[in-house]
Amino acid sequence: MSEQPSSFIERLRTIVGDDGLFSEPQQLRLYMYDGSIDRALPIAVALPRTAEQVAGVVRLCHEEGVFLTPRGAGTGLSGGSIPLCGGVVLSTARMKAVLAVDTENQTVTVQPGLVNLDLTKHVAPLGFQYVPDPSSQGACTIGGNVAENSGGPHTLTGGVTTNHVLELELVLADGERVRIGSPAPDPPGPDFVGVVCGSEGTIAVVTQILCRIVRKTECVRTMLAAFDSCRAASEAVSAVIASGIVPTAMEMMDHPALSAIEAFSHAGYPVDAGAVLLLELEALREEVEDAAPRVVEICRANGASEVRVAQNDEEREALWKGRKKAFGAMGRIGPSYYVQDGVIPRTRLPEVLERVEQAARKVGLRVANVFHAGDGNLHPLILFDDHDPDQAKRAIAAGEEILRACVEAGGSITGEHGVGMEKRDYMVLQFPKATLAAFTAFRDACDPGHTLNPYKLLPSGLGCAEGGKRQKTMAQMQELAERNAAVGDAY
């Protein structure tokens, strides 16, 4: 541990090349944020091009006891890719190749930095699609999706990322490269792929993914229903599902969100409505043609003032564009937003939405709702000014209140955005102590050196302070502390 600060950086440089390493303070600042509100500075950013380089970086960090945080595109919403305790950020942005397409077995082999939508675009001409479609799919990476076990509007019938990953190539915490899972379904033994999906970079770094692709469905119909209130729209959601029809997506947008969405998408969203439902049916043509009029009827019976069916692909795409980019569009109605991600049984939607509104009002902030109503996955967007530290604090307080409401309604503190650093401390709301201890024991077994994405996901055991003791021997960590202090002053 008598290494000079420069030598660690130099050794990193020999692994990833001059072009693959950044350590200039001004450049590092560009890796202190993601799509949400947390910030922390790394000491270096590595951009490997191969799995060997990834393994080299992970091994070096392991040997030197330096923290390592993997990063995809940095579109995450729970701080998963924030280098909370400093250390190295490993960006997969340059590992974005599609390595193989196997249409007979309906699989694709990809590198982790491949953008979700680019995967679908790659297989679309062959008549296939990759199902998980997070709203950030135009920018987020498959590796990031695996880390967060991402969902999307089509989770309702399609499942989340873990349901579409067959095999993973990993670099373990000590730099060893292994493969888990199998190209054939249901291999014997524990479901290790399922464990890695959603582990948020805390137990391994993924270097290759074997994804499942499916044939595009024959017929897709997208419709929009306008209601007076979220309550009426929520009741329509339950009524549609109770009727036996399961749309592939049922998305709700409330009144405050609609104006921003329409300003961006020009899709004809009714900005005066109290709430809007975006419903999509996907199946064989006969089935869709049978179900669509029934859905329209159910919406009307539950008070829809207008139901519109997209007439062509352009109209359909415009509607989805509005929904998928809704979070980003909040920049039009507030300087910043804090998005929460809780799940509740969908029958409890009206009362929990009421509590969301109350939570925001209590701290004097506005809230907009854009969410996956079909599976009760709430996404309240608390609007605040990120230049005002007090407002930021109040936004976080309201967020916590909302998660409490979700758990009390029998739900969970995260649907698809991950726990990251944002919800780490709320895990205690969700899980008993013994369960959390079991999680921690598993993680300790995978990463005994505690270098992989520290102080994320799990509430106890691995604070920066504890890990930091080991690291303080290294001069660069002190430098880091100073830089972190400077950032702290800014926010």
Partner: protein, 425 residues
């Protein structure tokens, strides 16, 4: 942007700075990343729109100095504005990066490669119409001279440049079609002023003639064209004061002509003309005047689509359309050129990709590595369509694609939409 009186952080006072309002519109969601050609090539946050906006914001908030490093990243940007199409929040990226470059310029931090070319072009050549004509006519004069016979002695790479030089080309192959169409006769022909521009008239004058011819066929009454420079190159390089003077002169000439429309056949110029108002403070009377003027500016494809003119002949070869960034992203014009081409082709093929070709003004000279990579990707897409004719609405893309196609030995002809429409109307 009346920033001068407000705190501009580490920016220089008295020079347009990226506005706090514009910068704060960014929610750093990251949805722009994969739309950005330089991020796709380099994979670095510093070369993404989100990263550049963040840097500009940090300078304003005194978290970072305005440094050479930031300057470099601001100039690695192509200013293609694909991020504006992707951005859900409506961040005025083009405006921000141009103001950022104005600051870099004023602080004397302009990257060296840029400094010389920009000085030569914007200070020496373009302000002098006679010199502009002389310099940009050189390639044309060369092409008509016996010197050309020596071109085959050049190395392969230079031969491609040579092959892309403007020269008389074979007429575009068309055949008569049994379509009803033809020139439009209008009772009250709208008066229009065309922009012949600085580089275009010297280098590719036949495109200006084709533009005038096709506008007449579409029933416009043309007043004498405006032959000055619009100032776009100056704005992109951060030279706002020079650009203001050019804007005033152009608007003044247009007003005096009594024309109803101002038509541009170059995407970059058109975008600039429509954004003149951004150059002037809101309390400057020129701001309102520039706004009014913008509502009268049309891209050639808009002018033709509006007129209802329909092709009488169809193109022989399968054709594809390359979106010029300053049409697709800056002016949001995508439908008009496509509908014109579909009107004169039985075999129109979508390129399915609107990423910048890498030309981007003088970018292909200042950042040849990135420009070549983007060109390679574009040419691959073109090959995949199987089209033999590529049509675009911007002279920069035209020359860049021609050079690339020649270097790659591709059997494709690259043409401006003015020539294509003139041949089929």
């Amino acid at each position: 942007m009346s920033d001068e009186t407000i705190d501009v952080g580490n920016y220089l006072e008295g020079v347009a700075a990226p506005s706090a309002e514009g910068l704060n519109t960014c929610t750093h969601c990251g949805l722009c990343l994969n739309a950005c050609p330089t991020y796709r090539v380099l994979g670095r946050e510093m070369d993404s729109p989100r990263g550049r906006v963040f840097m500009m914001r940090q300078v304003r908030e005194e978290q970072m100095p305005l440094s050479e490093l930031i300057a470099d990243h601001l100039y690695i940007c192509l200013d293609c504005r694909a991020c504006e199409t992707a951005c859900p929040s409506g961040v005025p990226y083009g405006e921000l990066v141009e103001a950022g470059r104005a600051q870099v310029e004023a602080a004397g931090l302009t990257p060296r490669r840029w400094r010389f070319l920009r000085w030569l072009l914007n200070r020496v050549i373009l302000p002098r119409p006679w010199l502009t004509r002389a310099v940009f006519a050189l390639p044309r004069l060369y092409a008509a001279s016996p010197l050309r016979a020596l071109a085959r002695l050049l190395p392969r790479r230079l031969r491609a440049w040579e092959a892309a030089l403007p020269r008389p080309r074979a007429p575009i192959a068309v055949r008569e079609a049994s379509r009803s169409g033809g020139a439009v006769q209008r009772a009250a022909a709208p008066r229009a002023m065309a922009l012949t521009g600085c580089v275009m008239e010297a280098m590719l004058p036949h495109l200006n003639r084709a533009t005038e011819s096709v506008l007449r066929k579409a029933g416009y009454d043309l007043v004498p064209a405006y032959s000055g420079c619009c100032g776009a190159l100056n704005v992109h390089a951060g030279e706002r004061e020079a650009a203001k003077g050019m804007a005033r002169a152009l608007i003044e000439a247009f007003s005096r002509s009594g024309a109803e429309y101002f038509v541009s056949n170059s995407a970059g110029c058109g975008a600039q003309l429509k954004e003149y108002a951004q150059l002037f403070e809101e309390d400057d009377p020129w701001h309102e005047r520039a706004k009014q003027f913008a509502s009268q500016v049309l891209d050639l494809s808009q002018a033709l689509a509006m007129s209802g003119v329909a092709a009488t002949r169809v193109l022989d070869a399968p054709v594809t359309y390359q979106d010029a960034c300053h049409l697709a992203h800056a002016q949001r014009i995508r439908a008009e050129p496509r509908s014109l081409l579909k009107g004169c082709s039985d075999d129109f093929r979508e390129l399915g990709d609107d990423q910048c070709c890498g030309s981007a003004g003088i970018y292909n000279l200042t950042h040849p590595e990135i420009a070549s990579e983007l060109l390679r990707q574009k040419l691959e897409r073109i090959e995949a369509t199987g089209a033999h004719l590529v049509v675009t609405g911007n002279p920069g893309c035209l020359l860049h694609l021609r050079r690339g196609a020649a270097e790659r030995g591709m059997n494709v002809d690259v043409r401006h939409i003015a020539e294509v429409m003139d041949a089929t109307l």
